[in-house]
Chain length 120, copies 4
């Protein structure tokens, strides 16, 4: 059975193939494109307060959605070109975080999220 | 039916809840964490040639996979907190790109990918 | 007279030359390195509140200072390799912003900083 | 004597003051703005080959110069708000790299730049 991410990766592969853009889609180029899109996404949040970022107005949210779409496209394409199973990679990392950050030890403001949530 | 991304979002929601980290997971904070992880991912590629980036050695690829996992976790968590359906957002953007970049017009080196692949 | 930025650019040029690293210092590679360092810098701020970010504790501030140093080194090296005068570029942009954002029109919360401060 | 960076920092301080934008210029917001601008700068390079990035056409170079100006403005402003002397931070880091990466040991392709040039 094809999952939704596999289906999206296949569509992107075909999108690049019919345009003969595979030559541009090196992992190196794609990670730069990903970084560029994440920069655009971050720019939508830069002057918002924490609270404002929780409830953006409709037009801002629409732009965020578009940028989130772009980020997803490049992320899925990059993983596909590298032969990495994105869902397996994410799940493995979350399993790891689950073990590493004991819920009782890391709860709330105690140690705060920095060392923990970054997972490093 | 729950898709794999919905399932991952639900796990991340629970991960934050049991640690009382929801207070740290504002969209603003999460987009910064996402940018940080993409920076770490980009760092893996910075000194590689285009060709080298296509076939990284096993240890480098393992680090890339871990970073791709981190990026995916923050992206899915951010979209969830904003109430954005990531797959719908990506599909809408790809449909849009499909219409915008006529395969014959944008094929190969002719105009090259920059204005086109960025989708803006 | 040599300015401080020109002096730093000259030191970086020599640093790369004696190690035969000029081959790695393409503008493309350097901008990726810059993005990576900015990602590390952003990571220092991701879980801080706005207020906390104004007065980081000494160890956090020391790490921020180190990251700011790294960002500056890559920025100066990138501009040098491209033949761009960084100070002239920054001054030109600030002159431009000064004209564009009339102080009375853009004061305070009225329109808020987003469209304005980004300068686009 | 005021250096060029101190002069630029002073102009930016005044720019924010007369517009009552100091309230938006928290270190946290400024590092996000910096990340956004670096993303825009990276986007200019994403589809260029290494060689093309060395000699961009005049219009591309002009856009790169503008983006480099934006990056510099936010970097100088961020350091100023944090009370960090950017030139001292960069010089300290370069002194450190000079000691750490022995020219003979790290020359050329031998070990290549990754572990070394990143300075970590």
């Amino acid at each position: 059975m094809t999952t939704e991410l596999e289906h999206l990766a296949a569509r992107l592969r075909e999108f690049a193939r019919v345009r003969d853009w595979e030559q541009f889609h090196t992992p190196k180029n794609l990670v730069m494109a990903l970084a560029g899109e994440v920069g655009e996404l971050a720019a939508e949040f830069q002057w918002l307060t924490a609270d404002e970022s929780r409830s953006p107005d409709p037009e801002t949210l629409a732009r965020m959605r578009t940028e989130l779409g772009d980020v997803t496209l490049y992320l899925v394409r990059l993983a596909d070109v590298l032969g990495v199973d994105l869902m397996a990679a994410a799940t493995a990392k979350l399993d790891d975080n689950d073990r590493r950050y004991d819920a009782d030890l890391y709860r709330g403001s105690a140690r705060k999220a920095p060392p923990s949530a970054r997972g490093d």
